[in-house]
Structure formats: C-alpha cells, structure tokens
C-alpha cells in the first residue's frame, strides 16, 4: 500500500511520553534507553503487602539505608536496555567462541605445561561457584532495587555472571576432555579445601546481607574489585612463563567484562555518594569492611598461584580499589 501523503499534514502531536518529557524538561525526542527505562517501575497504590514479608511494600525505598531524592539520577553510561544489552554481549561472546574453537581445533591446551594446567584447575574452576554467588547477589539487588535504572543493570549483571560461570566451566571441560571430572573436583575444593573456605564463607555471608545497596557494593566493588584484576591479570601474567597463551585468549571475555562493570558501577557510586554526606559515609563504611574481607579471603589463593608475589599483587589491587572509590567520592 503506498502512503502518498504530504508530510506537512502529519506533524507529530508530541515527541515522547509525558513522563519522559518531564524528565527531559521539554517535549523533545528521547532515546530508546530513556523511554525503555524511566519510570517503568510502579511507585504507589500497591494493593497488598507481600505475604512473604508483610513489613514491606512490593517496591520499597526502605530496603536500603541509602536515600535518593530521585532514583533515576543514575543512568547507565552504557545506555543498555534489553536490545542493546543482548547485542553487546553477543558480540563479546562471539569473540570468545572463536577462541574456544581455535583452541579446540589446534589442541592448544596441550601446549600449556602440565603443572600449569593443574594450577588452572585449582584456582580458576572453583570460581564458577563464586560467579554463581555473584549471579545470586546481583539477582537479589535487581529484585530489591528501587527504580528500573538500577534494577536493570543488576539484572544484566546477574545474567552475565551466569554466562561467566559457564565460560569457566567450559574451560574445565577443555581441560578434562569433556568428562566433567575437573568440575567435580573443583566443587570438592570449593566445599572442602582450606584454600577456598575464606572465599566461600564470605560469599555465603553476603547471601544474607539485608541491605541491597550494601550487597551491591560488597559484590561488585569489593569482591569483584579483587577478583577481576587478580584472576584475569595477575594470574594471567603468571601463566605466561608456563605456556598460558590459550588461557589469555579465554580470559578476554572476563577482562572486557570487568572493564564494562566498572563503567556503570563507578558512575552509580559517584551519583549516590554525591547525593548526600550520609550516603557517602554509608558507602565508605561498606566499601571498607568488604574490601578488607575480600583481600583477606583471596590472599591464600593469591599465594598459592603467585607465591612471594602475592603481597605485591594484593597491595596494588587494594590501591586500585581505593583509587576508584576515591574518584567516586568514597573514602576507604
């Protein structure tokens, strides 16, 4: 059907939705991120209280001690909504998939020296459980967060962590000829090996943290602030002298992901701390407590892999977290 009609008679009557125009300060074209994010979450006139926790409303600002005048002050600097999110992740995954294919085809894992293969099994594979914990925690933050802007970044992060846990598991399957034995052993290590008990205890303690913003800081700033540089930079470098090139390729997804996480997280912390000295104080308290814990929990594994170099690595990691926090207005 041809639509021959002079364009001047079909002028738009408005350029975006009312609530979007209100936030933009004028009726003007809005981005898909804005229309797909702002004010989606219901805010009032809830019909019933949760039977699983009658002390709260379905969406409730009081689930964190952080207070914001407007919970949409934070906007994802990556501008991710579902469509752009899946496209961005697919692109990262496509590259990772090519690495898997290449390594598989060229039997490259075998070029890694055997002792290092064993090391990788010991330090990396139990991390699939850590990533699953990170999935649970981000899912919890997404569930309890107020407003769509934060809830959706946490949901994306939760799904990403499941993805990373699966990538790590696939590394195990590459190392054990797809029998799954290495993954069984990694679980035994996670549950029983002394090296891992500090990390597991910290992870399980985080599961019962009540305040979702504290949990977000604990997981994404403190724990991940240790994990991503330690496992995917320091351990990666340590592997170089043992033929660790295939691991470097496979670490790429996690390296990129770690950078991507910093982009939204640091901005979120900055916006939240800038809101009030009370917020900044809470964030500082949480970041201090959990960063200390995370450093302590991961030190045995750092020593196991880096030996005498562990102290230096942990010191530089601590400095990096402190510097990032400072840039966001948080003192650790």
């Amino acid at each position: 059907m041809s639509l021959e009609i002079k364009t001047n008679v079909i002028q738009p009557r408005r350029h975006t939705y009312d609530h979007i125009a209100k936030r933009l300060g004028a009726d003007k074209p809005a981005s898909r991120y804005q229309e797909g994010t702002w004010d989606l979450q219901p805010t009032t006139n809830f019909h019933y209280r949760p039977t699983w926790d009658p002390s709260r409303e379905i969406y409730d600002k009081s689930l964190t001690a952080i207070e914001m005048e407007d919970w949409y002050s934070f906007n994802d600097p990556r501008q991710l909504y579902y469509g752009t999110y899946t496209m961005a992740r697919h692109k990262m995954m496509e590259a990772e998939e090519n690495h898997f294919k290449f390594i598989n085809k060229s039997n490259m894992m075998a070029s890694m020296n055997e002792a290092w293969q064993q090391k990788v099994k010991e330090f990396l594979l139990p991390m699939r459980h850590y990533e699953w914990g990170a999935n649970m925690n981000n899912c919890d933050c997404s569930d309890k967060a107020y407003g769509t802007a934060i809830s959706q970044v946490a949901l994306f992060a939760a799904m990403d962590r499941l993805g990373i846990a699966q990538i790590i598991s696939r590394v195990g399957l590459l190392l054990d000829d797809s029998t799954g034995k290495s993954l069984d052993q990694a679980k035994v290590d996670w549950m029983e090996n002394d090296l891992w008990q500090g990390v597991r205890r910290m992870t399980e303690d985080s599961f019962v943290v009540k305040d979702w913003f504290e949990l977000l800081v604990a997981q994404n700033l403190s724990m991940d602030g240790v994990v991503f540089p330690l496992f995917y930079q320091h351990f990666d470098e340590a592997g170089q002298q043992h033929g660790g090139a295939p691991m470097s390729m496979l670490n790429e997804f996690m390296q990129d992901w770690g950078k991507d996480e910093k982009r939204w997280l640091d901005h979120l912390l900055k916006v939240t701390a800038a809101e009030s000295p009370e917020n900044a104080a809470l964030l500082s308290k949480w970041a201090s407590v959990w960063t200390d814990r995370a450093i302590e929990a991961f030190t045995p594994i750092a020593s196991h892999v880096l030996g005498g170099g562990a102290d230096e690595a942990m010191t530089s990691i601590r400095m990096e977290i402190t510097k990032r926090a400072q840039k966001s207005g948080i003192e650790i």
Binding site: R32, G36, Q41, N45, A165, D184
Partner: protein, 505 residues
Amino acid sequence: MAEKRKKKLGIKQRYSMLTRGLGWDTTYQDMDKVFPYDNYEGIIIHDWEGWEDPFRLTMDAYWKFQSEKEKKLYAVIDSFAQNNGHLGITDARYVNALKLFLTGVSPLEYQAARGFTHVGRQFRGVGPRVACQMQAIDELRHVQTQIHSMSHYNKYFDGLHSAPHMHDRVWYLSVPKSFFDDARTAGPFEFLTSISFAFEYVLTNLLFVPFMSGAAFNGDMATVTFGFSAQSDEARHMTLGLEVIKFMLEQDERNIPIVQRWMDKWFWRGTRMLALVAMMMDYMLPKRVMSWREAWDIYFTEAGGALFADLARYGIKPPKYADIATKEAEHISHQAWHIFYNYTHAAAFHTWVPGKEELDWLSEKYPTTFDKYYRPRLEYLDKEEKAGRRFYNDTLPMLCQVCQIPMGFTDMDDPTTISFEVSEYNGDKYHTCSLGCKDIFDYEPAKYVQAWLPVHQIYQGNCGGAEVPDVLKWYNFNLGADNLEYNGSPDQKLWDEWQAHRKKA
C-alpha cells in the same frame, strides 16, 4: 563421584553441569536463612534434583538468539516510524486497542520481570532459579519492545502518553494491576502457578493471539512484529509453567490440594482480567479476527480441556467455575463494553457504538444472545448519540473487592439481573462480583481487605479531589482528547484529515 565419571558428558548432562552444577548447599549460613521464602506456602519438596529443566539454553546461546531477534525487530520498528506506518492501519478506532494494551498489559510485563527476578533468587533449586531468571530478562524485553514500538503511535494519537502513571492510578487499570500485585505478594510457588501456569500456559493464547492477530488484520505491522518476535520466548515460558506444576505434583501428594486451589483461584482471576480482551476483540478491532466466544472455545474449552485431561493422572480437576466462565463467554464482551461506554468520560480511550455491519457480525457470532439482550440497547444508545445526547453515567460504580471490575456483570442464566455476593470479615461487609471472586476473598480475607479500590479511594479524597474532573487530572488525562466518545474526538478528526489528503494525493 569424581571417580565414576569417565565418559564424555551427553548434552543433557553437560547442560546440567553448566547450570545446576554451579550451586551448592551452604554451610556457613543456614540454607533456610539464605532461602527464607520457599517453604512457608506448604509446598513440600523432597528433592530439588527432581526438577526437569524445561529448556536447555546456556547464556551464549541466549545472547545469540535474542540479539538476532532484537536486530530484526528494531529494523521493523525503525522503518515503521520512517514510513509513517500508522497511516496504514484500517481505522483510527483500532488504536484504542493499543491504548488498552500499553496502559493495561505492558506494565504487567514489567511486573513479570521483577517477579521472576524475585523467585529467580528465592528458590533453593538451581534449575528453577535459572529458568526464572531467563524469564525475568525476557519480560524486561517485552515491556521495552512494546514501549518502543508504540512510541511512534504516541506521537500521533491520544491516550498513550502516560502508561506507568495511569497504571498506578486509573480505576479500570486496577484490574490488571491488582491481578499482578496479588501474584507478586504470594509465595514463589503460587507466583509460578499464577503467572507461569494459569497465565502463560492456560490463558496466554487468549490474550496474545487476539491482540497479535488483531494487529495483523488491522495493518499494524509494528505490533505484529513484536508479537511474533516474543513467541519463541513465550514457548519457553509455557514449558516452565507446565514443569513447575508437574514438579509440585510429583514431589508430594499433599501438594495436590494446594495446587488445585491455586489453579481454581488463578483461572478465575485470569478470566476476569480477560474480560478486557474480550471487549477488545468484539468491539475495538475495525477488522475482526474471530469472536471472543470462538476464541474461548478454541483456546480454553478445547486446548484447556486436553491439558486438564492430561493432569487428571495427578488428581487435578479442571478449574472450579470453568463452566460458568464458559457461559460467560457468550456475554462478557458485551457487558464489559457497555460498562466502558457508560464511563468512557473517565477512561483514557474512546468507545463508540459499532456500525451496522459490525452489529450484524455480532448478531451472527452470538445468535442466541446478541439480538435478544445487547443489540437493542446499542441501537438505542446510537440514536441518542446521533441526537446529540451521548449518554455518560455520572455515578461511581461499586467495584468487586477481588477482581475490581465494576459490579456490572449479570447472572449468566439471567442476563438482566446483576450478580453479586457478600462476605463478612471483622464485622464489615465486602462485595464480590461472583462466586469465583467470593471464594478467593473468603480464603484469604486478610489479604483482599487491603485492596486499593479506586472508587473507595476517590470517595476518601485520595485521588486529586472530590469532583470527577479533579480525579481525571490526577490521572494525567488530557480532558476532551484522551477520554469521551470516539466520534468527534481529536483522534478521529486527524485521522479523517489524513485520509482526505491521501485521497487527493
């Protein structure tokens, strides 16, 4: 365990390793503290490993499939906007169906996203948690793609500008809102029974097929495309719905009566909400797809019948009052349209009396009831409107305490008598529209007395003021544009203008 496994993993084992293998039983913190909400409903689970993964999708595959679908969908949305696709629809009256969808249904997609995120954290079984998380993010997809496809319509038509604000406030939108609030405030197993099973599995075809085929018939390519694009998501959601039911029923026979009661409840609550879809199908589509009655017969009586025959081996019976709902299929669309025709000055969409050919179609589709009960009334209203006396009802209706629909539905054996039921709780009387709603109230009165009933709230002065125009301003209606009769509305005038220019061109 590590010793026994020598062979390569099969696909199913591999998937299980990549998902369920990730979880563990916590020991530093009590499992009941980590998962505090999954056992208070009385559902007994002996073995979470008994959960059969309803679909096996790892994240790499998920990102791949979904991003491909999104790419195609947004290409269509873009070209729809560039080519002024809204001019290709059959008639501007059609857009009123979209108004109902964007204000009534899209916010439910958001609620679904948050609800599945909640249960995606709260079940202690890893299998159900992963399936729920994937549905959570799918539902975020649905609300966002709907908002993005309708963004173009919002630029040219009224009534689409404030969906989230209206959903939280407007009287008839409390029907879908309270439905979802009810599910979200229930425990995780009831949530899945209500949304995944009753809604996604049993009733979804009655919601999405009508809307999407309605869109296709009426030239709305944007809506058709997001509807089709969501279908493979929905297929996954349906398998999750069926799996959760089987899982509960297979775990312990003491679960059976609980599941049966939830099925009865959510079937009824679902059919009540679908009254809005029924009137959309029979009245709001300029080019009709099939009648509500026909849709009911195909998608509930036939498909639902087969499903419940299958569930009989677990001791599950078809939902209570299914027979009444089937009788209602003959009347509900006409009665709902009548209610909105009466109150369209307080609604963010237009109503009208169907044209003669459309009335003939209804007579043909409802041979035993339409001419007898509904056609004369519509013809009378039409005459009044043409004589400049368009009828609006200025009183506020009483609402059902449970489904929150105005008490305008009749006894189905006697369509001239309004049906209502009364319950007492703590010395107060509460009114419901039907036996189905009364049962729901009586089982959990402490829950339903909390309902935020729009009419009560207006009377209590919580909705912007004492006069109807104050309330409508509080709803953020553009008076004289969003509301009232279709004939003479700005939507209609502009549409006619566009069509006139088109003829000249």
